[in-house]
């Protein structure tokens, strides 16, 4: 549905987006990640036809955004960053305007607005000026506007930014429910969101794509992938010995001790080459007769992968405190 080809945007001598390419199919929810200023919003603004690319293009639903921007705009539902809306208008008036701009009139318009109001729960605020609404409601108004024409392609710039946990959950549920029939791109820097709703993640840094894969694939790049966290009760002073025992196992690369409060010792055991080591660890624990409070296999930590990819220096220096 979306095919981004070598998209580039320069502002003067500054290159905001530098040869970004990726595609999104129907049924995919693509999480578009990157630190602030990495070029996420600029990329989205080009795909939606707001900014013209310096070079490269994006093809949406078979239409080239450079040559046929209006056709592309008809295909896309777009929620810009911060969900801008005319503050003096009521949601009723605003959604009416968006409906008319998208060619809906009369009964069809009223019917569609009615559906959207139910979908994003705007009942009760339809006649209040948008400027008096809470952030959550404003975001819902923006979402309703983006969904007006039931678009095949939905692009959202930080859809859950600034919402409370309940509102975030609501928005994510809505996104997941729409996922099968649409191609969805959402930008975020909240990594839990990627794990929660995305089928794929693209990370960009300084205008370039630096990673592209499923959230699980990205997690597998973490040094925590398949690491084992174990918390055992052992006598004071025995922690060092236990750590040495763990480190001696064949598949183990290193062991980190996370402290020994109240006679409990916590370790994170890192495998060699990302292999599963939980069997070895639990055997050792049983052989030694340690009393286990917790034994858990880590899937990997997206935030750590994210930091490593987008800011290698910072991640390296922060390694010790990664837990």
């Amino acid at each position: 549905m979306i095919d981004i080809r070598q998209l580039t945007k320069r502002f003067g001598s500054f290159t905001a987006v530098d040869g970004v390419s990726f595609g999104v199919q129907r049924g995919e929810v693509l999480g578009f990640l990157g630190p602030n200023g990495a070029g996420k919003s600029t990329t989205m603004k080009m795909v939606t036809g707001f900014l013209s690319p310096t070079s490269g293009t994006a093809v949406v639903g078979g239409h080239d955004v450079v040559n046929e921007p209006l056709k592309v705009k008809e295909k896309i539902g777009y929620l810009p960053e911060g969900a801008p809306a005319y503050p003096e208008m009521t949601p009723e008036g605003f959604l009416g305007f968006v409906a008319e701009a998208r060619g809906l009139r009369g009964a069809a318009k009223r019917k569609r607005i009615g559906e959207l109001v139910g979908m994003v729960h705007l009942e009760g605020v339809m006649r209040q000026p948008i400027e008096t609404l809470s952030k959550g409601y404003k975001r819902r108004v923006g979402l309703a506007a983006a969904l007006m024409h039931d678009p095949e392609v939905l692009i959202m710039d930080e859809p859950t930014d600034g919402l409370d946990p309940n509102q975030k959950h609501e928005v994510r549920t809505l996104i997941s429910s729409m996922a099968p029939s649409k191609a969805i791109v959402l930008s975020t820097h909240i990594l839990e969101e990627v794990e929660a709703v995305c089928t794929r993640a693209v990370i960009i840094s300084r205008g370039r794509v630096v990673a592209d894969g499923t959230p699980a694939e990205l997690q597998a790049r973490s040094r925590f992938h398949n690491a084992v966290s174990v918390r055992v009760r052992i006598a004071d002073g025995a922690a060092a010995a236990a750590k040495a025992e763990l480190a001696r196992l064949a598949g183990v690369a290193s062991v980190e001790e996370l402290g020994t409060p109240n006679g409990q010792a916590s370790f994170t055991v890192f495998p060699r080459d990302g292999k599963a080591i939980v069997g070895e660890v639990s055997q050792l624990v049983r052989a030694k007769g340690w009393e286990v409070d917790e034994l858990r296999v880590e899937t990997g930590r997206l935030d750590e992968v994210f930091r490593e990819i987008t800011a290698p220096a910072a991640a390296a220096s922060g390694k010790g405190g990664a837990a």
Partner: protein, 246 residues
């Protein structure tokens, strides 16, 4: 076309959901009334003529301050609120957005102008004026308002600050007025040949408006205002297009 209508409707509605429309209309009517009837200004009664000359006389100067107040928000507000991105990612062609906004502002100015009708009734009650001349005056005034608005639209597109848009628009419109103002023409005539004076004054809103207001609706005067409007609307579209990023 449908998209333009949607923009037009929204934009016109926006004037009336805020106090802007009401404040503007009340002040416009008050000032036209004061200027028309005041002994030292329009001297409507003292002149003893059944016409609306004293009413139209001050329109160019009244518009100088009131019209930029209408046009300043056209694009600067969209930029400030971030709604420009929303507007331009809807399937609305650029011309439709520019024209829809402009026509809404023009219609609004037209409504304010139309609400001066009691004056027309008064003058018809008091005497028997030449209603053709009065109609020409209204046409001229409306066209001139359009020209001011088009200039204002273009300047509003360059900034996100409405105050800046207002001040710059006043200055630019002032220049368009002064070009046909007696003392200025005299000054230019003191060092430039008559052809230059004519060329400059032919660019003036004041000259064109006066000529229409005399009751002679000349196609050239109408063409002048229409061209100014078209030119500045093209300018608006170009400015919006190039300044989207900032």
């Amino acid at each position: 076309m449908k998209a333009m209508l949607a923009v037009f409707k929204r934009e016109l509605g926006a004037y009336f959901v805020t106090p802007v429309a009401y404040v503007f209309i009340v002040i416009f009517l008050l000032l036209t009334g004061v200027f028309t009837f005041a002994e030292d200004l329009g001297a409507f009664y003292e002149r003893g003529q059944a016409d609306l000359r004293s009413f139209f006389l001050f329109h160019p100067w009244l518009y100088l301050f009131l019209i930029p107040a209408v046009s300043m928000r056209l694009w600067a507000e969209e930029r400030k609120q971030g709604t420009l991105e929303l507007l331009l990612t809807l399937p609305i062609p650029m011309w439709a957005a520019v024209a829809g906004k402009f026509l809404a502002a023009w219609a609004f100015a037209g409504i304010a102008l139309a609400l001066t009708f009691p004056l027309w009734i008064t003058v018809n009650y008091l005497g028997s004026p030449d209603n053709g001349v009065i109609a020409a005056g209204y046409i001229g005034s409306f066209l001139m308002a359009g020209a001011y608005l088009a200039v204002g639209s273009c300047i509003s597109a360059t900034t996100r600050n409405q105050v800046v848009a207002f001040v710059v628009t006043v200055v630019v419109c002032f220049a368009f007025l002064l070009a046909g103002f007696g003392p200025v023409m005299g000054f230019i005539g003191s060092w430039a040949p008559a052809s230059v004076v004519d060329a400059v004054s032919s660019m003036s809103f004041l000259t064109r408006f006066d000529s229409i207001g005399k009751g002679v609706v000349d196609a050239r005067d109408i063409a002048f205002f229409v061209s100014v409007i078209a030119l500045f609307l093209f300018g608006t579209a170009a400015v919006v297009e190039t300044k989207k990023g900032g």
